[in-house]
Amino acid sequence: MNLNPFGFSLTKSLLLIMTLLTPTMTARAEPAVKVEEYKLDNGMQVVVIPNTRAPVVTHMVFYRVGAADETPGVSGIAHFLEHLMFKATEKIPSGEFSKIVSRLGGQDNAFTGHDATAYFQRIAKEHLNTVMEMEADRMVNLQLSENDVVTERNVILEERRSRIENSPSAILSEQMDATLYYSHPYGIPIIGWEHEMEKLSRTDALTFYKHFYAPNNAILVVAGDVTGEHVHKLAKDIYGKLPANPKIASARTRPQDPPHRSARRVDIADPRAGKASIHRDYVAPSALTAKPGEAEALTLLATILADGPTSRLYKKMVVTDKSASSADGGYWSTAIDSGKIALYAIAADGVDLKTVEAGLDATIEEVRKSGVTQEELDRAKAGEIAQYVYDSDSQSTLARRYGYELAVGRSIADIQAWPKKIEAITVDDVKKVAEKYLDIRRSVTGTLVPAPAPAAADSKQAPSAGRG
């Protein structure tokens, strides 16, 4: 058992969402899963994952746009628009979208990442046609009133307070990202900077919407009790009639970081921090940018180094040295421009954070110098491959995984080849990526200590609320 005290904060609830999306933490493809793929004339991609277990479907539309595609100065607009998509169209009055889905016995929601935005409904299969019509309608017919925009802006400001401002570890995380990336928008929070969120306007939302929301920038994923043929026909009839937007560039070009040449540091003192903790993030390639085999090796490296009670970090720092009460970490690979390895440890009582950091560094250096054992590698592979089978239990999990991976530019073949590629990784491959990417110059180190903050910094971290 490895308790994660941060897990009691709201943000941890999202870890589960993330684990549904990333191939590195838990989500991998099950080769036995049958996936069918079509393309509509207007460029919309259609993916069908038949599963007859229950008479229900998961209907998702992913857009190839996220927070990292925002114009500088309007941070948060991708996420704000996602909220506003539940307002009106000509056919559907403001706020009615979710209520209609609910009346049909369905559930709906949406989420925004740096690289993709998705909308989904889970519903009895006989209503697939209806939710498709509704999703297609709001892809092109969104209507926003000034009042809807102002009210919803208050909602996202409250959301920011819940997720970030009320949680010192979330504040640290935001500061670390902003420091880790020199130029790339992954350094800007998905929810946006508060001072920019306060100014987001109806025009900002509609400009973003009109540019990025079009069938040629969308991926339809339907999982559940359906056939590919049936979904393809419905999609042609419903989404097929929407016009493509020729102005959407096929390449998604964002400002790229120069080489990372210096270790960076962020230190936060906050009376609300429960125990002192140390956090370390490294820029690493994503599954998309990695050389062949590197993302797979990084996945196994992160498992061996930091995942759970048999990991190197846990054994060294929690079990042997007893300098930390917990230690954990992971590798995030599902991204367009770069991935990230993130590690953390919580200091044991009476242990100086410098000692904890030394233990963290020593563990990392050891794995860079001597690599991992065959036994560790085999264990990590077994867990990785088994997770494929566990995930095939759930149509929603499969729909999310395929949708997100495709939205960042991976292919179905890539997803399905993953277990075989994991199987092929050697101890040598793992040592190579450890040496190359666990380089302190590629990293930011964050500390969070429960000391009182200086007055000025405190008022900045906990802004007086209610100006929004």
């Binding site: 308790l3 997720r163 570890s169 009460s325 009582d349």
Partner: protein, 465 residues
């Protein structure tokens, strides 16, 4: 958790959705474990959903749904008890035990046990609520036998080695330190302290620093011996296993547990009357409030009507009254919801909202006004119709994975219903009338007695006109 900023943000906090609630606080988890039985399906595919009721020679009762479509077995079980069984001065003992069962058992020390779990890719976890102690076990069919042996060792022969105890104690103390600064956790904990003052339900499930320090290996073993017994055990199994194999498996896993549990008496209780408002000062920009009242017991004839009513008030996401009034119309919160949580010895209608400090009282005023309005006039005809339509239409969504089905079955078993509940459940919802809901609203929504706890720095607006 620091991955947050890399994560997709969801439009709505999925706080009361079964599938995603696992990662939330214990408080929400408790709600979900019990709420499981409220969301039952009616088998549409009778063949696939046949529930086999099993009793082994050792008297172990289980329900099985065979499903060979995925090579997995999901087994969930519950013992009656939970944190209400913690001895006085040892609060947090049941929670401590949930961390210790995979920390070494039989001949395997902690590390050897953990390595075996990973080699076999077993998914094994334990949790507790006020009323129950739970195990959640999933395995690939091909590893079923050795995986079941590990589960048997974990519950029948845990070692409680000193080193492992001290390691878990540190983690639990760190968790307490974080929880003490988490406004949501403090608001929920305080609500129970106020509502159930003097009763076992008022005690903190995760203990206090002092009680966690006081817990020994002997305490863990004594609790295990008292609570882990065949006469309160309920087991739900879904997946790639047949009846004959399961019978053998159950005796192997649970057969050598004591026959009878030795539980302390937990009296029936109602939340305190008088309308309490408690503020816990915390230096955060957004206040978190928990509000609640006593509610109908699970087997009260009005329970189903109350369940429909709660859906209308705050259980139905964007279709609910509170979401409409607090978030959609006024932009006062990202998250606002309510639920009914029927404990074994009480029942609670409760909810939560989070709003910036200078407007939290506005949110609470809106909530109070809406509760009073529904008590007086009932819901609108549309709200009533739509709620029933959702509750009946969405049942199938509760059984589209093996893991979800086993949760549903376990909930029913715990509450003493038979499998026929599955086929009757939607009719029970359909049979609820508007008059029922109005009557129950008057009975339930006694806003004079509303208990509210607020954590943050709530500021009353200067001119509250």
């Amino acid at each position: 958790m620091k991955f947050a900023s890399k994560l997709p943000l969801a439009r709505m906090r999925p706080s009361h959705k079964i599938q995603q609630a696992r990662a939330l606080s214990r408080f929400v988890c408790a709600m979900v474990c019990l709420a499981a039985s409220l969301f039952l399906f009616q088998p549409r595919n009778a063949e696939a959903m046949e529930v086999k009721q099993i009793k082994t020679k050792n008297g172990i009762e289980a329900w099985l749904v065979e499903d060979h479509s995925v090579p997995l077995v999901s087994l969930k079980f519950a013992f009656e008890g939970g944190s209400s069984q913690d001895p006085d001065g040892k609060e947090g003992l049941a929670n401590f035990l949930t961390t210790m069962l995979d920390e070494g058992a039989g001949d395997l020390n902690s590390n050897a046990f953990q390595e075996k779990i990973e080699d076999l890719a077993v998914r094994l976890s334990f949790s507790e609520t006020k009323d129950g102690f739970y195990g959640n076990f999933r395995t690939l069919t091909k590893n079923l036998d050795p995986a079941a042996d590990l589960l048997h060792l974990a519950i029948a022969k845990p070692r409680f080695d000193n080193d492992a105890i001290e390691r878990m104690r540190k983690q639990l103390l760190a968790s307490l330190a974080f929880a003490a600064r988490n406004p949501e956790r403090v608001a929920a904990k305080t609500w129970y302290e106020v509502a159930f003052k003097g009763h076992l339900y008022a005690r903190p499930s995760n203990g206090t620093e002092k009680t966690i320090q006081a817990i020994s290996a002997e305490d863990l073993e004594t609790y295990r011996n008292r609570v882990f017994a065949r006469n309160t055990l309920k087991v739900a199994v879904v997946g790639d296993i047949d009846e004959a194999s399961l019978i053998k498996l159950l005796d192997r896993i649970f057969g050598d547990l004591p026959e009878k549990a030795g539980l302390r008496d937990v009296p029936q209780v109602q939340p305190v009357k008088g309308g309490k408002r408690t503020v816990v000062e915390m230096n955060v920009p957004q206040s978190v409030a928990v509000f609640g009242l006593g509610a109908m017991a699970r087997k009260d004839p009005d329970f189903m009507s109350a369940f429909v009513l709660n859906h209308i008030i705050g259980g139905g996401g964007f279709a609910s009254r509170l979401m409409e009034e607090v978030r959609e119309k006024r932009g006062l919160a990202y998250s606002v919801y309510s639920y009914i949580l029927p404990y074994r010895h009480t029942s609670v209608f409760s909810g939560s909202v989070a709003t910036r400090n200078d407007a939290i009282d506005k949110s609470l005023d809106v909530i109070r006004e809406e509760l009073a309005a529904i008590a007086k006039d009932g819901p609108s005809a549309d709200e009533f119709k739509n709620a029933k339509s959702y509750l009946v239409g969405s049942y199938a969504l509760r059984f589209d994975t093996g893991s979800k089905i086993s949760s549903q079955l376990l909930g029913l078993l715990e509450e003493g219903f038979g499998p026929e509940y599955l086929t009757n459940r939607n009719k029970m919802i359909s049979d609820v009338t508007m008059d029922d809901v109005k009557r129950v609203a008057k009975r339930l929504l006694d806003t004079d007695n509303l208990i509210v706890t607020i954590v943050g720095k709530p500021q009353k607006p200067g001119d509250k006109s």
